[in-house]
């Protein structure tokens, strides 16, 4: 009787492990893994400096305070990658409607963010996992 219960418990643990992807139990979020707010803040600091001086997309940010944009992007990304943040600013859709941003311009921005992640020292894997979360933003920004 005791034996059956033990086997059952083992099976349950095994199934739980398989279903949860067998990761260690207190799972660190991607946000914590990359170094939290400090890292995100550096990434967007680097990216924004480059974006503001880009000949193709720089003009979109005329009159937008760097600090404001940086805080908004950090907050939004934090929320997307499992950090303890709640973005409460304007939605991407709201802030980009009417700008008629081209796909090409969005891709240029993506490459700046990608480049900043690399320069700040994120691994290729961390970069891809963040990119996966950011990618759908394309549909809240382009051609609106």
């Amino acid at each position: 009787m005791i034996k059956t219960a033990r086997v059952r418990a083992l099976i349950t643990i095994f199934l739980a492990c398989v279903l949860s992807g067998c990761t260690s139990i207190p799972k660190q979020s991607l946000y914590e893994e990359i170094g939290g707010h400090k890292t995100l803040n550096t990434i967007y600091g680097v990216a924004i400096t480059r974006i503001y001086t880009d000949p193709v997309i720089g003009h979109y940010f005329k009159g937008v305070p760097k600090k404001h944009l940086r805080d908004q992007l950090v907050l939004q990304t934090c929320e997307l990658i499992g950090g303890p943040c709640e973005y409460d600013g304007k939605t991407m859709l709201e802030s980009h409607t009417g700008l008629n941003i081209k796909e090409r311009e969005f891709y240029i921005l993506v490459e700046y963010v990608q480049g900043a992640m690399r320069d700040v020292g994120l691994t290729y894997q961390q970069e891809n996992r963040i990119l996966k979360k950011l990618a759908p933003i394309k549909y809240q920004t382009v051609n609106l």
Partner: protein, 315 residues
Amino acid sequence: MIKVLLLSSLLISFTAFADSGSRLVASGGVTGFEGAAGGGITPWAFIGGYTSKEEVSYSANIQYLSLNDYRLTTAGAGFSLFDRVEVSLQRQRLDISSGLTSNVFALLTEGAISNANSATVEQDIVGAKVKVFGDGVFAQDSWLPQIAIGAQYKKNRDFDSSLSLPDGSVPLPETGVPLLLGAKDDSGTDVYLSATKLWLGTPSGYNLLTNLTARYTKANVFGLLGFGAEGDDSAKLEWEGSLALLISPTTAIGTEFRTQTNRLGGLAEEDTVVDAFIAYFPNKSLSITAAYVDLGNLPLQESSSGFYLTVNGHF
């Protein structure tokens, strides 16, 4: 071979100044041996090069596959429009060693003729691909793949180019290799549908590309051995697939397969083609791909596998 090297170095030097589009590096795949962008042996739903909706780009490629007594050299050019349409033109040349052609004659004449010249089979392919829907790269919140449909018009240029003997004589007039092996037509059109999806950050942070292509075709060995057969002239559905893992921002490794229907039978029995490749994308203008390709049986060469090298330029 020297020609190949010269062309490749030309491509490399051109592409150093190129502006090939704004999409993410490697997201255009490579140009396959039939001219369509994707893997080496199968098209993907992605449009070649790196064009966005607002851009146009051009491409050129040169490719070499060595299979013992067969060698396939192909080269071509194409253009991509607005991340929607891809058009390509490819010339393929299959060189068949004199050892093989001699064996063909020895078989046909029961040994009376045992020495023949080497032969060449050339084919032209005009291809077009249209993205139908989906975004295989950026729609990461959905499992839906990007879908494209395409067509490849193929014209075998040596369907009835006779094989010759060393003394210049032509024992079988107006009979090229495809005709000799029982093919019915010198041209045909493949139509295909590809579903492709890039999984960012999967598995464990790397990016995985999955592709499945269904092709409706009458081609024998891609059309190099003609189209249809006397006994079986129907088009069949073939399946092709690619798995590619981006192990770094500039390097992908992967494997592919492609089924073929065995129409001609006999000497020209066809097997499923498989390959394993490594592709290097130093920048958006250039890619270099090396692969090991196994075609299985080719006429008089039961095990045909060898090394494949391709250089692509985008500008």
